[in-house]
Symmetry: C2
Subunit: 427 residues, 2 copies
């Protein structure tokens, strides 16, 4: 019989063999545990939303990537991010929640775009947001940035920099230069600066018919690197947006210090503009110092009003999103996810006597280990091969000889060393 | 402005306020950790599958409940269970896996049926399966049943009984009585026995034009309660299915004893037939002893060949599924999910000095706690109200007075008692 049904993975919908799956789950769990340690609540909204809810917040690009469901009375579609569901949730249940409301959600989102390496149609996002009611102090930014820095430290993926700006600075500068009308276009170009470099950026800006001294000032502004706050004071710009933005950045610097975020983990960098119009104040992107070619691995910022379009009340928020599936692909490709501790199980108990074998296995499980048992008629050699397939760290052998004297042979699979211990050490 | 966009939850797509969400997550995590402790791997297949894959395995009822996606070249649809994706996965990657292959998957599935109380369109299933290559010993059943018994004990939802049968027994009996042709219909009726009772069952069976002594024998057979294995021997039935089924049940009894499954947690009960044709040997359903009205909270069994329809190789399996969303609804409704330890955060640090407050919070986080901070200008009373809203257990107050002498006031929110401790006890 010829096989007719296609069981291969669908392009853009990643799935993994056990070792990689365990590695991805570990990454996800580290993020979740860190989010949780800062008292964020793990919300879990449905994967499907009403079409009108998604369309109210989708940009023109995203709109075309939405997966709609056939014939259903509620006109459902798959979520394309986790922020729109959060906005709907806050709009709907705001009255029953306590603010500031801190939630995280690590879940799959769906975008019908052309899949490429590391770009998927179904992928995990790991979102974290703090939502205020009416007002939300700048310490919310410091808290989110601290959580992110803690995540990246725990992932042990080397030095990183969270590059922080405030959109009001650049928009204030452009208004001061009478360039407000072209600002969307200019921001779009500046956002590409890290990718295309200064020369290409200059050429693109000059195409907008800005004079060269203006282009120079803009590029100088976004290229400020050290002592950025001081240097900004020296730019004699009096536009109120700029003044407010500078004040916010100064306050944020103080907040970050108070919250104990290491100065090595972030930098003020005015080239960070973020494509999305969504953000209204603080914005940031995160880069791995030794792997700039990976691009930003986590972005975030402040938005004035999460529920705009759904509800008249004001819920300002600060949030960030880690593109988990993409990050996993990037880290793996860069060789940064080598973990020798990943195993199908911590221990394997081998015995012909499944009763005594399982009694030992249960004791090990109670101590928190993941434990498999092999009690079948296969030869010891074949069972030890299983331990290798599963990357098991320790094998406990309960042969007739051991059982006769109430002992167990404990084999360290990494070193190959083996020793006898009393069974009573474990049970 | 009138609000036009509907932000209410879509019927059949459950979502929860924080306290319930935390409770549900705890239930899910207990199941996941128990599955993992027995060395099952947490696979995570895509929520979308090709239409042809789902249709190959859908029953006529399920087929009409599948959610299809509009216009997409891969003809995608949302999975209606986690078994079909597993079958596709094994069929596709079987060559790269080590057998027996033990996996669990706790994920949402989708069925476009009419929602009712506790019946959803999007709901979690918590599946666990052992797949063999060619052969799979009966110890697989014992292992899965042991895992389930461990889960239900950890959930602390009171006494439960895993009622176990073997489909070969009943089909052997029916063949012996020359009723093989009517067997599907008879099994369907017997499956309703716990719900509709013996009298109603008898009436339905008599409608099939079985003579009353046959009906009596069938009902006597499925009503056997104690010493079932011995009594079965006394039924002088020589059909090979029956003989094999009895042998398997006897072997399973020995396995369960060897694996240390408590005799109080299971019973052999031949009324368990399971509607699905899917299962081929051992089958079981789980009932809470004190809440029989909840019906079965977990079912499972053995299937001869998981990948039939996808692939010519034989992969026998044993598996079980806990309908997590429905179980959560049931347990909550029955008042069995009262957990006073569920809190948005374990601790809240209150201080006007956010630097010293966060230093304390970080120390507590490092000890594994979930910790929030309240450092704003609000009054102490308002901050303590926050602790109540969040069901925080312990509040740490670092006021001016405490800071001056390097101490902290530790308030137990349950008892209301408060004491001073040296900050050095924590940092």
């Amino acid at each position: 019989m010829k096989q007719k049904i296609k069981t291969t993975a669908v392009s853009g919908f990643p799935e993994y063999l056990p070792a990689d799956q365990l590695l991805l789950n570990q990454l996800r769990q580290t993020i979740a545990e860190t989010y949780r340690s800062f008292a964020f609540i793990p919300l879990d909204t449905p994967a499907l939303e009403r079409r009108e809810v998604l369309l109210a917040k989708a940009g023109s690009e995203t709109e075309h990537q939405i997966y709609y469901l056939e014939n259903n009375s509620d006109d459902l579609a798959l979520r394309f991010d986790l922020t729109v569901p959060l906005a709907r949730y806050i709009s709907e249940y705001g009255g029953a929640l306590t603010f500031p409301f801190k939630r995280y959600q690590i879940a799959k989102v769906y975008r019908g775009e052309r899949p490429q390496k590391g770009r998927y149609r179904e992928f995990y996002q790991a979102d974290i947001d703090i939502i205020g009611e009416g007002l939300l102090p700048l310490s919310a930014e410091a808290e989110i940035i601290k959580v992110l820095a803690t995540v990246f430290k725990k992932l042990a993926i080397g030095p990183f920099t969270i590059k922080i700006s405030n959109r009001k600075l650049l928009s204030g500068l452009l208004a001061w230069l009478n360039l407000s009308e072209a600002s969307a276009e200019i921001l779009r170009i500046l956002d590409k600066l890290p990718k295309i470099g200064e020369a290409a950026c200059r050429r693109e800006l000059e195409k907008l018919e800005l004079n060269s001294s203006t282009v120079k000032e803009i590029l100088e502004f976004v290229s400020l690197k050290e002592n950025v706050l001081e240097k900004l004071g020296a730019f004699d710009i009096k536009h109120p947006d700029f003044v407010v933005g500078l004040g916010e950045l100064q306050e944020l610097a103080q907040c970050l210090a108070d919250y104990g975020v290491s100065a090595a983990d972030y930098a003020f960098d005015l080239s960070i503009a973020r494509g999305l119009d969504y953000y209204t104040g603080t914005v940031w992107e995160t880069f791995l110092d030794n792997y700039p070619e990976l691009g930003s691995i986590c972005s975030g910022g402040r938005y004035e009003n999460l529920v705009a379009g759904f509800n008249e009340r004001a819920f300002p928020g600060v949030g960030a999103s880690i593109g988990l599936s993409r990050l996993f692909y990037q880290l793996k490709t860069a060789g940064l996810l080598v973990d020798s501790t990943i195993a199908v199980s911590d221990a394997l108990v081998i015995s012909d006597n499944r009763q005594r074998g399982e009694a030992l296995a249960d004791s090990l499980r109670r101590s928190g280990l993941s434990v498999a048992g092999a009690y079948g008629p296969e030869k010891l050699k074949k069972k030890l091969a299983l331990a290798n397939h599963w990357s098991v760290k320790t094998v406990y052998i309960l042969g007739e000889e051991e059982l006769a004297v109430d002992e167990v042979s404990v084999k360290d699979m990494l070193s190959g060393s083996q020793k006898r211990q009393a069974l009573s050490d474990f049970i």
